[in-house]
Homo-oligomer: 205 residues x 2
DNA sequence: TAACATTCCGACCCAGTGGTCGGTTAACTC
DNA sequence: GAGTTAACCGACCACTGGGTCGGAATGTTA
């Protein structure tokens, strides 16, 4: 195999397996050896490609986690249709995926935020950055909705964004282990209820 | 000092310091030695009072975490006034405490849920039990509200409870590190907005 | 095919980790 | 005040963690 390709292939294999195990067992609870055993690779290979366990993880965030969040939570709400519908469908799909996940460990991003908060400033910077992007995407979606006449123009876009992020992070936490499907259903109903309260009032009566 | 008192005193000191460090650094990231160093106690003392690190932690949950959650989230909403007001004030206070916490590591309960989910069934049982109690307390509060005529009788009490728990867990996650005060304010505004949508419609117009 | 660079191997280092155990000290009982 | 027991000490153990390093294998180039 060509060298540069071989390099990227090996690194990617390590990262994919690494994310899998970090997500499943937590960062501090997963040893470099665990990952290497899974791949039948050696310590030497690992430290040839990465400077340290931390460096390894940061690259995983940049390569894999960011993309996951983008495709799941950012891109689906960038359209120009009714934004409340976009967000509803986006959440619906994200939660449905979680329900069907045999072994669900929650929302990747919030899992890692919990693990690193107050413990690793460097990694937290990266995680917060993703949250920030999610937030501005939501805010601009809400504002588009106001502009397009779907959302009441008095609502506070930042407030709605924070509220949406909160509830999503929370429901993903609640959906692990206990009645994920039922909780998802209840959550989505209430989300729609909430959305009704910020839609433009229909003057049809 | 009398023996049985001395025993309880020592155990309590260990638990208080233990919770502090577990909350701050995580369970797996805090060694028994860390706790003992803080207290100038020895391994012998620790394993004289507790069977294992896990046993120690479970006792911390039963003794300290349960009580914390009770006094912060359960008892404040058990009154018979307008339940939506009770919940609003309860959340307001809980979040305000978090804002003023110099070093905030989030909602104790959800922190530990994230850490132990899929890793320690025994401990998860205890944590889920607390969540369950919180849930039934919320559900019965909502139902009281419907009965008392404050809440629209068509709303789904279980749904509202899940939605409230979600949003609370989520906002506590978001409040660590980034703009806790602003986020709290935005969150509370939207919560009130949501509450308005499940109140009984005022026929005053 | 010789010379060189890239990729990977695995023995080794050592600072911890949870947990054990024989022993000491202090408090209570009779 | 001797004997008993609860409370605690700290050296020790087996093991694991992240990380190092000399060298072997596998390309790549001239």
């Amino acid at each position: 195999m060509e060298k540069s390709i071989k390099r990227r292939t090996t690194m990617n294999r390590m990262q994919v397996t690494g994310l899998e195990l970090f997500y499943k067992n937590g960062y501090y609870n997963t040893s470099v050896d665990d990952i290497l055993k899974e791949l039948s690779l050696s310590k030497g290979a690992f430290y040839y490609h990465f400077d340290s366990k931390e460096d390894f993880f940061i690259q995983i965030i940049e390569q894999l986690v960011v993309r996951k969040v983008y495709s799941m939570l950012i891109e689906p709400i960038e359209g120009h249709e009714n934004t409340l519908d976009l967000i509803t469908n986006c959440f619906e799909n994200a939660l449905e995926t979680a329900v069907h996940n045999e072994l669900d460990y929650g929302f990747v991003l919030s899992n890692f935020i919990h693990e690193f908060n107050g413990r690793n400033q460097e990694i937290m910077k990266h995680l917060n950055e993703i949250l920030r992007i999610w937030e501005v995407t939501l805010v601009s979606a809400i504002q588009r909705g106001k502009f397009n006449g779907h959302i009441d123009r008095h609502v506070d876009a930042e407030g709605v964004a924070v509220y949406l992020m909160s509830s999503f992070i929370g429901i993903r936490t609640l959906m692990v282990e206990t009645a994920p499907s039922a909780r998802k259903y209840r959550f989505m109903s209430q989300l729609r209820q909430y959305f009704k309260s910020i839609e433009v009032r229909q003057q049809s009566y």
